[in-house]
């Protein structure tokens, strides 16, 4: 996916402005914010929740939350789309994890099984997502196991135990893959000056 940095910067500035106005209860700015970001955010929610009713609900809750708490977004600290995506991802993950507690393992099994026939695969996404920037170099330094575990966790919201079941590896192995993978990513990204 080619991302033009200048256009991205312009889009970020626009989103920041819309968030600032949303914080002041400007409803038309809020609507533009929704128009500019909802399909990306809905895609993220669908990817993790794999169920349109749940994804719609999360999108709705997230934007109602943004309306009330846009003031807590601090422009200097993170990119607006990062912030918005985090709001949506966190709600998706909270919902998934709650489901883990509430339901028996059969659901987990189905969850893990369902991943196999979905496309594009998390691993492809991981690499194409990283394509446009230095993140790719860092992702590529990861070993196959950690790379796959992180892709499945990030794009599908799989927990440690779901990862273990899906990858058919012991829980301890998967946990250490994730931990080591993240450590490695951090060292690489921070070292490359990608992270601010």
């Amino acid at each position: 996916m080619a991302v033009d940095p200048a256009r991205q910067l312009e889009r970020s500035a626009r989103l920041m402005e819309l968030l600032a106005r949303t914080a002041l209860a400007d409803q038309s700015a809020f609507e533009q914010l929704y128009r500019m970001t909802s399909s990306h955010l809905y895609g993220v929610a669908m990817r993790i929740l794999r169920e349109s009713a749940a994804a719609e609900e999360v999108l709705q809750e997230s934007f109602v939350n943004v309306w009330h708490h846009a003031g807590s977004y601090v422009a200097a600290r993170s990119q607006p789309l990062t912030w918005l995506t985090s709001v949506v991802r966190n709600r998706c993950l909270d919902r998934l994890r709650r489901r883990d507690v509430d339901t028996v393992n059969i659901d987990d099994e189905e969850h893990a099984m369902a991943i196999a026939d979905r496309s594009p695969m998390p691993l492809e996404l991981l690499l194409s997502g990283a394509e446009a920037n230095a993140v790719r170099r860092c992702v590529e330094t990861l070993d196959a196991g950690p790379k796959q575990a992180i892709a499945l966790a990030f794009y599908q919201g799989l927990s440690h135990s779901e990862l273990a079941r899906h990858l058919k590896e012991p829980l301890g192995t998967v946990k250490s893959w994730v931990r080591r993978g993240l450590e490695r990513l951090k060292a690489c990204l921070d070292g490359a000056g990608v992270h601010r």
Partner: protein, 235 residues
């Protein structure tokens, strides 16, 4: 769980952001991060690191009912919480008003151009502030290099005895900035800290809100916007 060492806090933040933390640990960590700046910073840093990966997720257009539901929920909240306390930004009509003000501006330009020049024609900034009915109510103008913003009402203003009208600069980003109060007579000269061309640079529009007597106590608009208009740069 021990969150106290920076390494541990960072590793947990990474797991939290990636999403692999089990439900109970996740809820507890989120709760702690709300009151712990170090954890909150670690989470934010991981969100920054991992977010480029999210760009490749194929976008999906959500059904129209999602926006309808969002709108219904925020409207209900607003009516319940503050029927009258609309902020300057609350009205969609502000921006609709700005669009309609295009017509009003044309009239103002004619007025400005027809008025006999006192000196050599000068680059000017002109703002026609119109109400929601798009009828011009005030004209604000200043020479580009002048430091006085002249306000003239073209309709009678009646803010009420215990109210004031306050003029605001609406920047492209960030909060509105007060330019001063507009007297009930509707005629005023407002001193600008620097030349108008600079003072109103990056200010796409001005607005007048209805405030408690003496002006907004918060430094931001608290009452409804009565008039607004785009800043026209005649140079």
């Amino acid at each position: 769980m021990n969150y106290r060492t920076p390494e541990r806090a960072d590793a947990l933040a990474a797991q939290y952001v990636l999403g692999t933390m089990p439900a109970r640990a996740r809820a507890r960590f989120a709760r702690l991060a709300r009151s712990d700046g170090v954890l909150a910073d670690a989470i934010r840093a991981w969100e920054d690191r991992l977010s480029p990966l999210g760009q490749s997720v194929p976008p999906i257009e959500p059904p129209g009912r999602v926006w309808t539901a969002i709108l219904a929920r925020i409207d209900r909240g607003r009516v319940a919480s503050a029927a009258e306390r609309r902020t300057v930004w609350a009205s969609v009509s502000l921006w609709r008003g700005l669009a309609l003000a295009g017509f009003a501006t044309a009239i103002a330009l004619v007025l400005v151009l027809l008025s006999p020049p006192l000196e050599a024609p000068e680059a000017r900034l002109v703002v026609v502030l119109a109400g929601q009915d798009a009828k011009p109510a005030l004209i604000a103008s200043a020479g580009r290099s002048g430091r006085l913003l002249t306000i003239k009402a073209v309709t009678p203003l009646s803010p009420g005895a215990d109210r004031s009208l306050q003029l605001w600069a609406l920047p492209a980003t960030g909060n509105p900035r007060s330019l001063g109060l507009v007297p009930a007579s509707g005629i005023a000269q407002i001193a600008l800290p620097v030349a108008a061309g600079s003072a109103l640079e990056n200010i796409p529009a001005l607005a007048v809100s209805l405030e408690p007597r003496g002006g907004s106590p918060t430094g931001l608009p608290t009452g409804p916007v009565l008039y607004s208009g785009p800043v026209q740069r005649l140079y």
